[in-house]
Amino acid sequence: MARSYRGLLVLTVIAGLGILAAAVLALIVAPNAAGLTPNEMYAQRIIYFHVPCAWLSMLAFGVTMAGSIGYLVSGRRRWDNLAVSSAEIGIAFTLAAIASGSIWAKPAWNTWWTWDPRLTTYTIVLLLYIAYFMLRSAMEDPARRARFAAVYGIFAFISVPITFFSIRWWKTIHPVLVANSQNTENWGLSAHMRPVFFFSLAAFTLFYVVLLLHRLRLEDTKEQVDEVKEGLGY
């Protein structure tokens, strides 16, 4: 077994344990939020996984943009592999964030869905990145596909900061958890909730890194298959 693969396996186990620890902290250790009904109190614990999912998806789309720029600058396929791998993980966690947010909304807002600025812009992000894969699947030539996808990947990312700032720019019912100024009084979380929240964010970030490394390995193998096919004259 190659040394790098062994290292990846160790990192995978650490990431898995981190997510499990985050679940225990979120469900058992984190304090109850004050002034909520029992139903809302349980639902409030969703944020410890919902927000990291949303963060992870935005990070993933940011990496897609970086990979796209890297490809356009260098023309190396590895950058395109990074962009597509990260976009796939981003879509999965956008779905997870939207679904878990919708479940949280039922007890908190008394509705599964509303066309609030955050929800609307986040849905647009999801659709834009689904279209990214539709665009890729429409092109046969790898170099042409990578070039078009790279340009699209850069422009699609514009939707991500708009989504992030939507709850600060426009009138919305979506809570703002992270303070938007130096004044920590503005935080939507109490001081006792924050360590669990940040632990969960860190655990999900490591989880993302591990998923990305595994997904890149898949792209590397695909590249090898293409090379062998070329050697065989396919």
């Binding site: 349980y42 996984f49 997870a96 878990s100 998923l211 595994h214 390995r217 898949l218």
Partner: protein
Amino acid sequence: MTYLVGAYLIIWVVSFALILSMVFRQRKIDQELAVLSEALQDREEGR
């Protein structure tokens, strides 16, 4: 409580679906690579 369980369940299901899809694709592509490499080797030996 139902909402909490539902939300966590969805996140776990999405995560496992992504991991499983990656595992199956990796397995399939590894098999394809092995078959193609063998074919390439056979061709080179036949020359």
